[in-house]
Symmetry: C2
Subunit: 330 residues, 2 copies
C-alpha cells in the first residue's frame, strides 16, 4: 500500500511481529471507566501499555527488531528521548547483546535511570535531532554497533502495530468492533503500525492520531500532504517531541484519516483525570489521546473509541507539580 | 468465636455480605510484580482495592451496612478521615438516602472532594476522635440520622471481610492457597473481617496486620491483650490514624496472629515502589503492608503473601512531594 521505493513495512509484517514477540511481552489489559465515559460522552477503551514490559509500548518494536538483527550482531545502539532507549536496553539484555543509548540531556531522570537499570551504556547529547544523530554516528563509528532507530524503521513500525491487533482482538472478545482507534503520534511508529494493522484487519475502523498542539508536525504533514521535517516542539508530552519519521509518514498518509491535537491544558486535565479516576500512573504523552477527545468532544460523541495509554515512565514530582494549582489546599 | 456479650459478627455474616453486595462492588484484580517479588524475596499478590468503587475497600462495608439499615431509615451519618465517608456517601446516593459525613479538618482535600462529589453533606471538626464523636452526636440530635460507624460495627466488619474471601478464591483459581494474608489496620474493620473470613475458609493461613510504627495501638493491644484505646498518631498513612475499635479488637485477638509495623521511611519507599514499578496510584495507607514486608523480610521470605492495596485516594501533589528528595534532578 505505501510507496514501495521506501523501505516500509506491510500489514503482513505486523502479523509476523505479533507471533514472534508474543512470549516476550505482556498482553496488556483493555480498561474502561464509567466516570470518564460520562465526562466525554463516548465509550472509551484504554489499552494499558503503561503496564507493558519497560512501562511502554516501545517494548514491542524493540523486541521485534531484536528478532530481526543481521546475523552476527553483538551490539546495538539507538537514540531516544527515553522509552525506546529503555525498551532496546531491555530487549538487548534479554538476548545478551550489548547496547548503547544516546539520550538528550533534557530527557526525564526516570527514563535515564531505566536505561541504566537494564545495563545499557548512556551517551548524553544536546536536545535536537541533529545532536542525537551526530552522537549516534560517533558511537557507531567507534564500536560498529547495529543501529535500531526509535521509530523510522520497518521492524519498529511492525512491532508497535501489534498493539492495534490486540486492541481489535480484545474488543471482539467483548462482542464489538471499535468505531475509532486513537493513538498518540510523535515519531509515528505506533500510529503507522496501528494504521497497517487496522487496514488489514478492520478497514471500516477510523484510525486517528493524537498530537500535542505544541508539536503538531504530523497533523500539518498529513493535512498538507507534504512531510514537515522540522519543528520546535513545546509540550510537556516529552515522548511526542520527536518529528514524524519518513517511513512513518509514508504509511500514515495511506492508513490514517486525520490527526487531532490537544492543548497543554487539556493534556494536564486528561492526565489528572486518569490519575485520580483510574488510579493509573500514565505519563503526559499517554494522556494526549484522552486530551484530544476532551478538546474535540463532537468528533467522538457516542462512539466506541479505543485509545492507547502509551507509557507510564516519568519523574513523579515534576508530573505531580503540574497539578499543583488545582490540587493544593484552598 | 469472639466474645458474645459484645455485638460482634461471625464468619457467616461475611458470607451473607459477599452475596448481598456482589452486584454493587467490583471483584478487583489480584496483581503480581516480578520486580517487587525479587526485591522482597517473597511471592506477593496485591489485591487491588484502590480500583474498588470509590477508590477503596470501604465501599464493601458501606454497601453491606446499607443492605441492613433499620426499616424506615431515610438518612445516614458517620465520621471518617475520608474513605469511609466517601463510601457511605456513594452507597447512600445509590439508594436515594441522605447522608452527612463528619470529617476532621486535617483530612486530605481529595477525600473531602470525593464525599462532596457523591452528594453528601460535610461537617468539619477537630482532629481527635472525641471531636469527631461530638460533632456526629450533634448531627444525630439535629436530624435523627442513623449512624453507620467507620469500623466499629458488625455490618462494616463483615462487609470488609469480603475482600479476604475474594483473595482466597482468586488464589485458588490460580492453584494455590496463600501462606499469609496481610491487611493494613487502622480502626480494624478490614483486618477483623479478614480474620473472620480466613478462620472459616482457610484456618491454616496466617493472618497478619500491618500498621505504621507511628500509630501502633493495634500491635500493642494484640501483644499485651489489653485494648489500647488512645494514641497520638504520627504517620503519613492518614487512613490508619484511627484507634482500633472495640469490636474489631475482640475479633482480631481471636483470628489474627500478629501485627507487623512499618516506619515512615519504609512506607514512602513502598509507595514509591508501587507507583514506579506497578504504575498503580495507591495512597500511603495502602503501601503499609508492603512497607512491613520490606522492613521485616525474614518473616515473609519465600512465602506466598496476599496483601491488600486498600485505597488510592490522596492529594497527588502532597504525596509526590514525599519522593522529592529521591526523584529530583541530581
Amino acid at each position: 500500500m505505501p510507496d514501495n521505493n521506501l523501505d516500509v513495512p506491510g500489514s503482513a509484517e505486523v502479523f509476523s511481529a505479533a507471533q514472534d514477540i508474543a512470549e516476550r511481552i505482556h498482553r496488556t489489559p483493555l480498561m474502561t471507566s464509567g466516570l470518564i465515559d460520562r465526562a466525554c460522552g463516548a465509550n472509551l477503551f484504554f489499552k494499558c501499555e503503561h503496564l507493558q514490559k519497560t512501562g511502554a509500548f516501545k517494548a514491542r518494536g524493540a523486541s521485534n527488531a531484536l528478532c530481526r538483527l543481521p546475523a552476527g550482531t553483538t551490539m546495538v545502539a539507538t537514540h531516544s528521548s527515553g522509552n525506546h532507549g529503555a525498551a532496546l536496553a531491555w530487549a538487548a539484555a534479554a538476548r545478551g547483546i550489548a547496547c548503547t543509548v544516546v539520550m538528550p540531556e533534557t530527557s526525564p531522570l526516570a527514563k535515564r535511570a531505566a536505561v541504566a537499570g537494564y545495563g545499557a551504556e548512556i551517551v548524553l547529547c544536546g536536545p535536537t535531532l541533529a545532536d542525537r544523530e551526530a552522537a549516534l554516528r560517533k558511537v557507531v563509528d567507534d564500536s560498529g554497533a547495529h543501529v535500531v532507530p526509535p521509530f523510522d524503521d520497518r521492524r519498529i513500525i511492525a512491532g508497535q502495530g501489534t498493539v492495534a491487533l490486540e486492541i481489535l482482538e480484545q474488543c471482539r472478545e467483548r462482542g464489538f468492533t471499535p468505531d475509532i482507534v486513537l493513538a498518540p503520534v510523535g515519531g509515528g511508529g505506533l500510529l503507522a503500525g496501528t494504521g497497517l494493522a487496522m487496514a488489514a484487519m478492520a478497514p471500516e475502523v477510523l484510525v486517528l492520531g493524537a498530537e500535542p498542539a505544541g508539536a503538531d508536525d504530523a497533523q500539518r504533514s498529513l493535512r498538507s500532504g507534504v512531510h514537515v521535517t522540522s519543528q520546535t516542539p513545546d509540550t510537556i508530552a516529552d515522548g511526542l517531541r520527536t518529528p514524524l519519521g519518513e517511513r512513518n509518514f509514508a504509511v500514515i498518509r495511506q492508513t490514517v484519516k486525520d490527526i487531532v491535537t490537544a492543548s497543554e491544558k487539556s493534556i494536564v486535565d486528561a492526565m489528572q483525570l486518569l490519575w485520580t479516576r483510574t488510579k493509573q500512573l500514565v505519563e503526559p504523552s499517554a494522556a494526549v489521546p484522552l486530551a484530544a477527545i476532551l478538546e474535540h468532544p463532537a468528533r467522538f460523541r457516542d462512539k466506541k473509541v479505543a485509545l492507547v495509554l502509551s507509557g507510564g515512565n516519568m519523574d513523579l514530582v515534576r508530573a505531580a507539580s503540574l497539578f499543583a494549582g488545582e490540587e493544593s489546599e484552598p
